[in-house]
Subunit: 233 residues, 2 copies
Amino acid sequence: MCIYYTNNRNMTSQSQQYEFAALATDVVIFTVCEEQLHVLLVQMNKKPFTGMWALPGGLVKPNEDADTAAKRQLLEKTGVSNAYLEQLYTFSRVDRDPFGRVVSVAYYALLPKKTKVATMPDYADIQWVPVTAVMSLAYDHRDILQTAIVRLKSKLAYTNIVYSLLPKEFTLSEMQSVYELILDTVLDKRNFRKKILAQGMIKKTGKKQTAGANRPAELYTFIKRSVQEVAML
Amino acid sequence: MCIYYTNNRNMTSQSQQYEFAALATDVVIFTVCEEQLHVLLVQMNKKPFTGMWALPGGLVKPNEDADTAAKRQLLEKTGVSNAYLEQLYTFSRVDRDPFGRVVSVAYYALLPKKTKVATMPDYADIQWVPVTAVMSLAYDHRDILQTAIVRLKSKLAYTNIVYSLLPKEFTLSEMQSVYELILDTVLDKRNFRKKILAQGMIKKTGKKQTAGANRPAELYTFIKRSVQEVAML
DNA sequence: ATAGTATGTGTATATATTACACTAATAATC
DNA sequence: GATTATTAGTGTAATATATACACATACTAT
């Protein structure tokens, strides 16, 4: 790494115009609601993507690392600062941005429910969209989204990150439903409960779900809300 | 992403000096030999890291994406062009390079055996080093190596990438030994063979290992040399 | 011929996964 | 207040998977 770098120590981009790329982050923000996996999209109001939808994102600032920039994006768009956020993949196709060389460090975030999002002045619109309803997106954001969905599926199966998609207190049916939606499977209720409870990662709160014209469900909570590598399914 | 970008369309780095980072790749190149996991390191001959060891890497060229740059690094350092190569993580700490803002997209590669490496004119030395013997490294390369080791361990366990660390034809003892070394476990020979053979991913070649003052081992080969997600252990 | 060394193999036990159907608790309706 | 509709909650038997464990085999070197 050093060798190329020292050959180009003056950091102007005049003669070596593309040696230095613009660095951006794009964040795939997921949530589950109404029995569907949703992703937060913004509608662009700048050429050449006017009217098109894209993932929220932006350039990394001089004093930021990519993690910080992604966290900032998440906060600006959702007001949430403590969500699960993980680096996904870096997309660097030379022609991925029509304006020039922009490399994007993509992240994905998981929110416990459809957070109310304020329309930003910089965008035409901002909305939660069911992932099944997402059509074409600006840039290579379709690829980024696809990569995020694959990652989410695999992480759900072998870690406990489901906690980040659930509210603090939740029912076992809600939890099972999250797995079924995202993994696109049907699970046996008794076997699911047996397995999840055997993990020892959740406990009863003692409380029960209030509303509902049927038997009220026990509310559970995660003992630790931190990521652990465990075969959940 | 678009909003910031369009505000800074002129791609000179004069006024917004660090908005545009230098983009580099560093490659953690692994191989197994002499019953140890080895990593390829280069010794630097430029200040301020003169004499220090580092991961092979370099700046991404204008017409390259990060994958291409990593592949080139691997080829330049080892002469190998068909190894397993996977993006690992992007390291972007603001002060990770003493010369300025350099963001590194790290990769890791797996080679079937200790490939002979030619000393490069740009480096003081280049060597295979057992990972247990690696002390401090230049930049944040210690972190990168650590991240790569963690990734390698987990990928070994739930995919078949072990094929990329083995020669075309190999014995079951060799294969078991790779798992034992990297995962730092002891495995039961009969159970290991039962499980691996049950996967149906390898087959006998019919040939036997020649040399050795003992019973010659059957040689096996992978039916497909491509990555599949399978619980191997 | 013998000694040394790594290869190759099977079975019994324990654990984990799967398949499967009814009762319980509540709200809404009559 | 009895009935209906709806989701919650529970156990067992069968199958599949994982584990623990010891000796005969095929070769080289002496």
